[in-house]
């Protein structure tokens, strides 16, 4: 995250004058609302903030924020952001992408931006569908999903965005839900605060082409039983009555009922900061309906950012060789005088 500008802002300071072009009821609205709430807390000036996106309903996001923004081309937002952040480390750079934009055409850029660990915040709106192009299945659509391009059901094994991010050496991985507004705000804030590439998956409802794809997490009634909210150092407890938990049997997680012999001390305790991401990976595998799906921060570890290392090498070069001098450069090696 770029250095705080000290100024204090309100949500309105971040609202652009463009009328919003999402379908009524789209989950994108509530993500936008949370983002506007969170940006002032982060305290970076609007002019120091840049939102970069690809193509998709989700990728319209930058138009609705009164910051600098690039509505790029399909799948390339992480690469655009990489150039921007590497050239301008002073800026706070957000990447907004979708499950198609970020995991289909843009999967490779996402992977490389994450492994390079630039200090950018990547938010992937996962609605398990291609919304903008009217409802084809996406890399996160479940097997057998019937869509305009798969009338007999999808035959692709889906990707798990968090597993992909962890497999790409992510230093920060989190998940939240469009309708779980408080939690979403917290996760966005944590992502912004993290120094390094932050990857956030947000379950987003496309009520037109894939309504309730995440109904179990989207619906506040079902949520408690199908989602476990991670907290660093805390055991994995969930359930409407907070009476269920996750326990490890070797490497196998299992859902247990608390009480009669089983107490919180038996449960798996969350740790965002393990050197190796084995735990984060294991958590990313907990899927509905067999398990509650973890939301919150799965992993948050520090490692040097790409732009800091780049600045470091430039500084070092200047220190050891002095500021660049063209005359010296041109005259190095064999030269001769013609008079």
């Amino acid at each position: 995250m770029a250095s705080k500008s000290g100024g204090t802002y309100s949500a309105d300071d971040f609202a652009s004058d463009q009328d919003i072009r999402w379908c009524p009821g789209c989950g994108d609205y509530s993500i936008l609302a949370q983002m506007k709430k969170v940006l002032p807390d982060i305290g970076v000036a609007p002019e120091k903030t840049v939102f970069v996106s690809g193509i998709g309903c989700s990728s319209r996001f930058p138009y609705y924020l009164k910051t600098y923004g690039i509505h790029g081309i399909h799948g390339r937002a992480p690469a655009i952001a990489t150039g921007l952040k590497a050239a301008r480390p002073d800026l706070s750079v957000w990447v907004i992408t979708g499950d198609g934009d970020g995991l289909s055409i843009g999967g490779n850029h996402l992977m490389h931006a994450i492994r390079r660990n630039l200090d950018i915040n990547i938010v992937l709106f996962n609605n398990r569908i291609y919304g903008l192009t009217k409802g084809q299945y996406s890399p996160t659509s479940p097997p057998g999903h019937i869509t305009s391009s798969t009338p007999m059901g999808s035959i692709d094994g889906p990707l798990n965005p968090l597993s992909v991010a962890i497999g790409s050496e992510a230093s920060f991985v989190a998940r939240s839900v469009d309708t779980h507004t408080k939690h979403l705000g917290m996760v966005l804030r944590r992502a912004a605060e993290h120094k390094g590439a932050s990857f956030v998956e947000v379950y987003q409802n496309c009520n037109v082409y894939n309504d309730l794809a995440f109904g179990y997490a989207w619906d506040r009634k079902q949520r408690p039983d199908h989602v476990v909210e991670l907290e660093h150092g805390k055991p994995l407890v969930f359930g409407a009555k907070g009476d269920k938990g996750i326990r490890l049997k070797g490497l196998e997680p299992e859902v247990v009922q608390l009480g009669n012999g089983i107490s919180e001390s038996d449960l798996l305790v969350h740790d965002e900061k393990t050197d190796e991401p084995a735990l984060a990976y294991l958590l990313s595998r907990l899927r509905y309906p067999h398990f509650p799906e973890p939301i919150g921060v799965l992993r948050a570890v520090e490692r040097p950012t790409y732009e800091d290392l780049m600045d470091g090498q430039i500084a070092e070069a200047r220190k050891s060789r002095g500021d660049g001098d063209l005359k010296a450069l041109f005259n190095a090696g064999d030269t001769w005088q013609v008079s």
């Binding site: 652009s16 600098y68 790029g72 690469a79 921007l84 090498q313 063209l326 005359k327 064999d334």
Partner: protein, 622 residues
Amino acid sequence: MSTAESQIPAGRPRPVRELETATVRLAGDSGDGMQLVGGQLTNTSALAGNDVATLPDFPAEIRAPRGTLAGVSGFQIHFASRDVLTPGDRLDALVAMNPAALRENLRDLEPHGVLIVDEDAFDAKGLKLAHYAENPLENGTLDGYQLIRAPITKLTRAAVEETGLGKSLSERCRNFFALGLVYWLYGRDPEPTRRFIEAKFKNVPDVAEANRRALEAGWNFGETSESVTGSYHVPPAEMAPGRYRNITGNQGFAWGLITAAKLSGKELFYGSYPITPASDILHELSRHKQFGVRTFQAEDEIAAMTSVIGAAFGGAMGVTASAGPGIALKSEAMGLAVMLELPLLVLDIQRAGPSTGMPTKTEQADLLQVMFGRSGEAPMPVLAASTPADCFDVIRESWRIATAFMTPVVVLSDAFIATSAEPWKIPDMESLDPIPVSHPGASSNGASFMPYARDERLVRPWALPGTPGLMHRVGGLEKQDITGNVSYDPENHNHMVRVRARKVENIASVIPPQAVDGPESGDLLVLSWGGVYGACASAVARVQESGASVALANLRHLHPMPSNMAELLSRYRRVLIPELNSGQLRMLIRSKFLIDAVGLNKTTGRPFSAVEIEERINSLII
């Protein structure tokens, strides 16, 4: 250490023939280090005051097995006491380190030319690998040449024996033996090469010593061997006063970028993905971080191109480079750059295509790709460099256009000029015009900023993130004139398509009119672009000497073209366009000016020789 004087015997008198020009090729296995010693011969020749041009010719990226035809690597140098424009057509002297090198190169050697071979390499194995049924050194094949049979391998081993290097390491010194012999042949001072050896091998003193000895042994062989009938002297050339150095095209690009960044007060962001023959620009730039150069090796060309768009939006001097296949991958993102109207440079070091083609060979067949290889109407300015030294200059001009008109610009080079070297007069910074770049300042009056408001040249402002009050969003959707908001209005789109085109056309108003070399009007105009310039210039010079009314125009600005082109072309009875493609500039000229321009086209992966051009010219004017 020992000096030239002490080590190299004065030697008995030998005839020294004076030459105006000489073309020499060093050929051997890719493992033999021909490129290395070729570079040395280039330097010392330049230091001796000759004008020089070179043509490195190495096999496709991958190493072939030792001694095979596929593994032959060559380095050609043309040095003269007059202006040199090409690496030379035919060879005056050829060094063949093995039979494969002989087979691959003999065809280019002039009758009675000097032919130096390592006779030790002509054993059964070597001959077989070169598909020689019998030994050409024995069967009279080479009678037509001044054959110098040197036991290079043996003599090198002997010379370096004392250094105690192993057999294979010693044999690695054979190239310096050959170089020493060539130095004697052309009376070159070995001292600079001694210094080079010292510097290069400073961590391995025994290797340095061995190479030094090999160099001297080669010299001594020339001095003493009966088979060497004499030596040559090529006097210094007339050159504009000043300090000179050799420069390759890729080096020219790299240094030109660093210079243009400095002159425009910008930080250079170079995002690129390695590809032959463009990789060396990345390598060179990555060595100069003290200039604040930011080099980014992207995961692919699309990321390279889009990273540069991000950097340009951030206010940096964004540059990417590739060869044809990589440029194809960038094309969608180049279209975005056109839509965003951000200044940045795309360098295309053309190589032989299509597809992977012949990666190390030269061609000019990407012109139409960079002109039209984007969806929709997406005009981009295109410039081309013509010589290694010109690569340095064309970058400044391109960046000046990019920033003055807020547009991405394509700069074309090719494998030939990118890898060949020529003397370059080192400019003093004072002589280089600054490149003024301005950005709108902070606005507090709350009025929303108009990113697509334009000045009289139709140029929009370059507002940078970090500037209060100028927050705005850009994107690939069609945008409303002035406000830059997304717009699907039919008339607006029609307008914007035309505005983007007119803006690029406006560049013609600031570029110099096309100059010609030769008569203002006449029988024939040779229209050259890019790497063919050298061969065309030599050819035109020759026919002009013989009084023909032929002129040369070398087109740097391929789009838009200088405003006087139509008028200029009309002044000649015919127009000849030599290109290393199937007629790409010709097709643009024909459609723009409706003249029946004729072409001279080849796609062998090799540059034109002056003779090829000259013959075509003559066929047209008689």
